[in-house]
């Protein structure tokens, strides 16, 4: 019984798409999920992509993934690695896969000389919160995340 983590590569679009879709369903965000495997193949094939993914294998079988993107802190003048998704498929939970993915993301951040790793969590997700605190993450209180999209985005752009 072993966990291996590898960098996602061209051809992994379908499995990544399926794993992130499972995460969207779990978060009740399926209505907002419109990505296709081709969208993933595009950045997997792009040598200048600002984002990427890691795949966790359980005994060689795809079991979970972490998707990340490059971010930047003007306060430190350095890269921040932003963790967009961490997904573990239901049959593979409670085997330490999420923690192994978080460790691999931290290793990637250190290799890229990023000052920190940052991510968002839905407020209700207490299982995930316990894991994040266990790995040494701190919660940044006092922030409010804003988004402009759809009609409002077009109205402001006009």
């Amino acid at each position: 019984m072993s966990i291996t983590i590898r960098t996602a590569r061209p051809g992994d679009g379908a499995i990544l798409n399926a794993m992130v879709h499972a995460l969207a369903v779990h978060h009740d965000y399926e209505a907002y999920f419109t990505a296709s495997p081709e969208d993933y193949e595009r950045f997997l094939a792009d040598p200048h992509a600002i984002n990427g993914a890691l795949i966790a294998l359980w005994n060689g079988e795809p079991a979970g993934c972490a998707t990340w993107q490059r971010s930047y802190s003007t306060f430190t003048g350095r890269e921040v690695l932003y963790l967009e998704d961490i997904s573990v498929l239901a049959p593979f939970r409670r085997k330490g896969i999420a923690k192994a993915l978080l460790r691999a993301v931290a290793q990637l951040a250190v290799a890229r000389q990023a000052a920190s790793v940052k991510w968002l969590m839905m407020g209700w997700n207490s299982d995930a919160r316990r894991l994040y605190e266990l790995v040494g993450a701190t919660i940044e209180d006092g922030n409010c995340f804003c988004q402009l999209s759809g009609d409002a985005l077009h109205r402001l752009a006009a």
Binding site: L16, V20, Y29, Y32, T34, A35, E38, D39, Y40, F43, I50, N51, T67, Q69, R70, S71, Y72, S73, T74, F75, T76, G77, R78, E79, E84, L102, R103, A106, Q107, A109, V110, A115, S116, V117, K118, W119, L120, M121, M122, G123, R129, V135, G136, A137, T138, I139, E140, G142, N143, C144, F145, C146, Q147, L148, S149, A152, L153, H154, R155, A157
Partner: protein
């Protein structure tokens, strides 16, 4: 009374850093700013730029800035724009400069087919939150930010 907005140019790192420090001071986070002009030169104008900056001038005088970079939504399968910093000189507020900087980014999103413009605001910053809501931005209340950095990042990476 004229407002001009244009991309920052090499040599203007000092002006950009000055705005970053003023914003940090307003946020009571000046002690966290460690970036210097060389860091910003690398981030904005280096061989692999990580971020972009728009500068606003009111009657020719530097009035504010927006510092942003591209991000990627794995749910939408598309890139978007993330606004890291937005600042207008206190003496020049109320002239629509902040809105003009946001509008320019919204315009860029629409022109480039990007579905979202996103940013963070400190939750005590009511004046800014009121402006953002008036523009149609939605606060994403259910999300909590986590960060791992420094010794905890090194430890997780090992």
């Amino acid at each position: 009374m004229t407002l001009e907005i244009r991309p920052a140019r090499p040599g203007e790192e000092g002006l950009v850093l000055g705005f970053i420090r003023k914003l940090a001071d307003y946020e009571e986070l000046l002690h966290e700013v460690t970036a210097d002009e060389a860091d910003l030169r690398e981030g904005l104008f280096g061989p692999a730029p990580r971020c972009h900056c728009d500068l606003a001038f009111w009657n020719g005088a530097p009035a504010g800035f927006a510092l942003w970079f591209y991000n990627f939504s794995t749910f939408a399968g598309k890139a978007g724009i993330y606004l890291e910093d937005l600042f207008v000189e206190p003496g020049l507020r109320g002239k629509g400069i902040g809105k003009a900087l946001l509008k320019r980014l919204a315009r860029r999103c629409v022109d480039e087919g990007l579905p979202r413009l996103q940013w963070w605001v400190l939750d005590w910053n009511e004046p800014s939150i009121a402006v953002y809501k008036s523009l149609g931005a939605k606060p994403m209340d259910a999300w909590t930010v986590f960060r791992v950095s420094g010794p905890e990042l090194e430890e997780l990476a090992t």
